[in-house]
């Protein structure tokens, strides 16, 4: 059977490439680049070749022994879809890097980490063992940390990387606890064991597992209140941002929720919580995207918002819709990030105030970005439209009209900020464009022209995919229905989907909301008064609705405690002896006490 070999290849090819590149060092940058492209593209091909072999059986089993169980791999529909996204978008990011990272120092470290990242993500979605899932989960966190702080000389980059690491690891504790409890209850790390025997577990324990997994997913997918790491992760080189937002990191959380939804669906309050948090993230992040003044931050908030839709969709039980939107989002967000990366690379800044008037100077990038923005806004015939409509429909059906109206509000704001950012970058009168202030100190100001070749290739492929990825619905749904027997997915052919979407009035209402959002931007002058009265919202959004503050408080409290505790290390021998005698008194007293 070929499935096992292909699974291994999908994970091992990028890792092997990472090892080779790491060992090769920085001596031959060209060779490094080529090797990186080759390994990532081959990994993408391997994962694509897995599609026909989709199965819900274990294809590879490595016994580890002791309390570590067996490491297994199960390439089912969900896993293969995400593996294809990870390797496919990942290889496009690598290709894009050829131009955008050229001339950087330490390319070997960069490409090695990117390949490690891609491989780890592929492993995460293809494994069938909870422990191995946790392995990859942590490894992905590590890669994101290392790549976000790739420019180690920039303290902001370092801080962003460590923030991402710590926040996602805190979520990881939830996953760890869930996995540990599952193992304690079932004596197995198999996904199948958890999915099939969840009903037999004591309810409280299943509840802890469910919410532990949810915690992990929320931290990883940057959902409220753990979203604060994602905007700070913007210090990463732009292809890495594309990788994190579209291909690897944040998708893991959605994947986890979708994967274990059948096990947790009956846990009281679980689905409601998932829905509520998804909705909250979708709306709050959209508002934050509306007020952000940094091109990459806008896109980052937009990711949080779109992931919110997916989380919501999982919450209402629309697994297929959520994963389908994940696919669309991966494509158009990668497109947006890479296009933004081209803008940043070519202008040397990412402050919206310094951008503008680039429409004529870089038509190719402009077209790509506009397409991405349209897909994000949900304009018909682009992939974002179809998947978003599926989510809206599922929301209206399963969560009621109130939820649908809230979602519509989000849709309008999405259209609004998508329009705003596009206009500000390409059509706004150039304000400080040519006073190129290098925002992170490593890109060089240069003649502003259109994108070079490797960038064009990557962007071109993504533009094509933005137009076409929705055509895959039939195949994806068939694969899901065949291999995810517990997820209750039905085959949805392309024509069924089209009919379903065009025949429901909800779609037209949603389109109205999109139009309304776009119109709001064009008519923004007229609403100056309204904007003034809504200022408290915008100000709150600018301050991340207090979550950054909360975050900072936690950090400050920990650091303060650490600083205060250092006083106890007096360096005085006599005080050290106080510790010993005091410890003795305490221990003896505790032991002597009658309990």
């Amino acid at each position: 059977m070929l499935a096992g070999e292909l699974t291994v290849l999908t994970i091992a090819l990028p890792w092997f490439g990472a090892l080779c590149i790491w060992l090769g060092g920085n001596k031959a940058p060209r060779l490094t680049e080529r090797a990186a492209v080759a390994f990532s593209v081959f990994a993408a091909l391997a994962s694509g070749a897995l599609i026909p072999f989709a199965t819900n059986q274990v294809v590879l089993r490595i016994p580890v022994g002791g309390v570590f169980g067996e490491f297994t791999f199960v390439p089912d529909g969900l896993g293969i879809l995400l593996a294809c996204i990870a390797t496919g978008i990942g290889s496009l990011a690598v290709i894009f890097s050829l131009d955008s990272m050229r001339g950087e120092k330490e390319l070997a470290r960069y490409y090695a980490l990117v390949l490690l990242f891609i491989g780890a993500m592929a492993g995460l979605v293809l494994t069938g063992s909870l422990l191995l899932l946790f392995f990859f989960w942590e490894l992905v966190a590590f890669c994101s940390y290392a790549l976000i702080s790739f420019h180690n000389d920039d303290p902001k980059a370092v801080a962003g990387g460590i923030k991402a690491l710590v926040i996602t690891q805190i979520g990881g504790v939830g996953l760890a606890v869930g996995v540990l409890l599952t193992y304690a209850q079932l004596g197995s790390y198999e996904f199948d064991a958890l999915l099939r025997h969840s009903a037999q577990m004591p309810r409280e324990i299943l509840g802890i597992i469910a919410f532990g997994f949810l915690l992990a997913a929320l931290a990883k997918s940057a959902q409220v209140p753990f979203h604060t790491w994602l905007p700070d992760a913007m210090e990463a080189p732009t292809p890495v941002s594309a990788l994190i937002h579209a291909a690897t990191m944040v998708n893991a959380g959605i994947y986890l929720l979708a994967r274990f939804y059948p096990a947790f669906v009956n846990v009281p309050a679980w689905t409601t919580t998932v829905m509520a948090i998804g909705m909250l993230s979708a709306l709050l992040a959209a508002l934050m995207a509306l007020t952000a003044n940094d091109l990459k931050r806008v896109l980052a908030y937009s990711t949080i918002s779109q992931l919110g839709y997916m989380v919501f969709a999982v919450g209402v039980g629309a697994t297929l819709a959520s994963q389908f939107h994940l696919l669309s989002h991966a494509v158009f967000k990668a497109l947006l990030f890479l296009a933004a990366g081209a803008v940043i690379h070519l202008t040397g800044t990412r402050a919206l105030a310094q951008l503008g008037g680039l429409s004529e100077r870089m038509p190719f990038v402009r077209n790509a970005f506009v397409l991405g923005a349209l897909a994000l806004a949900g304009v018909p015939l682009l992939n974002g439209f179809w998947s978003k409509e599926l989510i809206l429909e599922a929301g209206a059906q399963n969560a009621g009209m109130a939820a649908f109206i809230l979602l519509l509000f989000g849709v309008s704001i999405t259209a609004l900020y998508a329009t705003r950012v596009t206009w500000l970058v390409f059509w706004a009168p150039p304000r400080e464009t040519n006073k190129v202030a290098s925002s992170n100190g490593h890109s060089r100001p240069k003649e502003i022209g259109d994108a070079p070749r490797a960038m064009r290739i990557a962007l071109g492929v993504l533009v094509g995919a933005t137009f076409t990825s929705w055509l895959l619905i039939g195949g994806v749904s068939e694969m899901f229905a065949r291999t995810l027997t517990l997820a209750n997915v039905h085959v949805l052919t392309l024509f069924e989907m089209m009919a379903e979407i065009f025949l429901t009035p909800l779609t037209w209402i949603a389109l109205g909301a999109v139009g309304f959002g776009v119109w709001l931007w064009t008519a923004r002058e007229r609403f100056a008064n309204v904007r003034a009265s809504w200022q408290f919202v915008t100000r709150a959004a600018e301050n991340s609705f207090g979550f950054e503050w909360l975050n900072a408080q936690v950090v400050r409290a920990t650091m303060g405690a650490a600083a205060r505790l250092r006083v106890t290390q007096t360096g005085q021998l006599n005080w050290n002896m106080v510790g010993i005698v005091g410890g003795f008194v305490l221990v003896l007293a505790v032991l002597m006490m009658r309990w």
Binding site: R566, Q569, T570, G571, Q572, L573, N574, M577, V578, V581
Partner: protein
């Protein structure tokens, strides 16, 4: 009240234990700290000898006491050697001055 040596042993050990540890908490002179340690060693020697006697194995306790005396003499020698070196490099034997490593 007729106290046997064994009963006084408890009193003696506890007394020396208290004095020794109090000194370790209060005293700042390094050589005096070594003296305090020696007082504590006396407590241990007495305790072991008495414990041997109490359990009817006087010779075992005595043998342990002997070993303790030997071992802790070596420790005292080492401590004094360290003290001399400290005196040479810090110019004082005040252990409060040995507080550069902290936090």
């Amino acid at each position: 009240m007729n106290l046997s040596p064994l009963d006084t042993a408890i009193f003696l050990v506890l007394g020396l234990f208290g004095v020794g540890f109090y000194a370790l908490l209060i005293v700042r002179h390094l050589i005096k700290l070594v003296i305090a340690l020696q007082i504590l060693v006396k407590a241990a020697v007495v305790a072991l000898a008495a414990a041997g006697a109490a359990s009817g194995k006087l010779e075992l306790g005595a043998s342990l006491a002997l070993s303790v005396i030997v071992v802790d003499t070596v420790v005292a020698v080492v401590a004094l050697a360290l003290a001399l070196q400290v005196r040479k490099h810090f110019g004082t034997l005040d252990v409060s001055e040995l507080g550069t490593l902290r936090g």
